[in-house]
Assembly symmetry: C2
């Protein structure tokens, strides 16, 4: 059994503890010999293999949020209490309490934000600096940009998490997790949620 | 005498209390009959009229920041103590203390951020909602995006301003000013800084 999480820019697979990414063209040119349980937030792509089984309907998720992405549902699905941060091309931040989803919000991811500055002015083109000191007011443009990307996101997560546990996942999840003491980074959080949903359906 | 603030997307003029915008093509096709004192952060545009006088060197500004944009210098130039927020295509946030610039940072502006979401996924295309309730966790995508744009910026300004006075300018300045009690919105803040620099040069 394979798991597959189809996003906006690529698909992630999970094969018995191992995770890897694949582009859409390769995915639809591969012959799959076992079942692939998948979720998909990409409206412009659908896997053409008959081995793919969409498990979106398997999630029994308690929320009042209208139109919550299935990747966010899967990311929250194993969390009873806490804040779930999936930091990828977008950063989604969701709150769980007693197994219920209380809502959440979305900020653009680091790489998208960096690109934004460059679009505003070529003077604002710079690179991501994971070592930026947030305790000091920036004294040059590259620091001003990195501070402007990272500091508001961290303050916003602090503001809603307070003493709650924080669960980070996604490509930039481990970077953000380091700013919080009460944080756990789990790169396979979404796959764990998918596994839980599949188990509940007694398919495992 | 005219003042002109040339930005990345248009030029703003100030004529004896009246301010107006102009696109670059029109600017370079107009015949100016009086002096235009200007600042320019746009590396791809330069006014071709001989009436234009670049006043960047007129500012006697105390900072350790390397490469601070002249528009930010002008915006801070009349402020002795406080935080200056210029909320346009980019949002610049600068701290002044005893007439010295202590540093600052840059976040993308509201319209640029909105465009970002759309680039990540067509599902995330939405409109700016100035009435978003920041005290409630969003329960739908359009709220999740508007919250994700506005809340981190406000928290970030709160975090550095604390009890300092806040001076807002720029197209979205009046919107942000409303979230703070200790705030002043001055749409002509940059022009006031330019006037101060010109006066100091005894050109008025």
């Amino acid at each position: 059994m394979l798991l597959c999480d189809i996003g906006n820019f690529s698909a992630k697979f999970y094969d018995n503890g191992k995770a890897y990414s694949m582009d859409f063209e390769k995915l639809n040119n591969l012959a799959f010999d076992k079942k692939v349980y998948f979720i998909n937030v990409n409206k412009n792509f659908y896997p053409n293999s008959r081995k793919f089984i969409n498990i979106e309907s398997y999630f029994n998720f308690d929320t009042n949020y209208i139109g919550l992405g299935v990747d966010r549902i899967a990311g929250c699905y194993t969390i009873k209490d806490g804040v779930v941060v999936d930091a990828g091309s977008a950063i989604t931040i969701d709150i769980m309490k007693d197994g219920m989803h209380l809502g959440g919000y979305i900020v653009p991811g680091i790489s998208k934000l960096l690109k934004n500055y460059e679009d505003i002015s070529p003077i604002l083109k710079t690179y991501f600096n994971s070592q930026i000191n947030l305790d000091k007011m920036p004294q040059k443009t590259s620091d001003a940009i990195n501070y402007g990307i990272i500091s508001p996101i961290i303050l916003s997560i602090q503001n809603i998490s307070k003493d709650k546990n924080l669960y980070f996942t996604g490509g930039d999840g481990s970077f953000f997790a380091k700013f919080f003491t009460n944080s756990i980074y789990d790169k396979n959080l979404i796959f764990r949620g998918m596994l839980k949903a599949i188990k509940e359906k007694e398919l495992l």
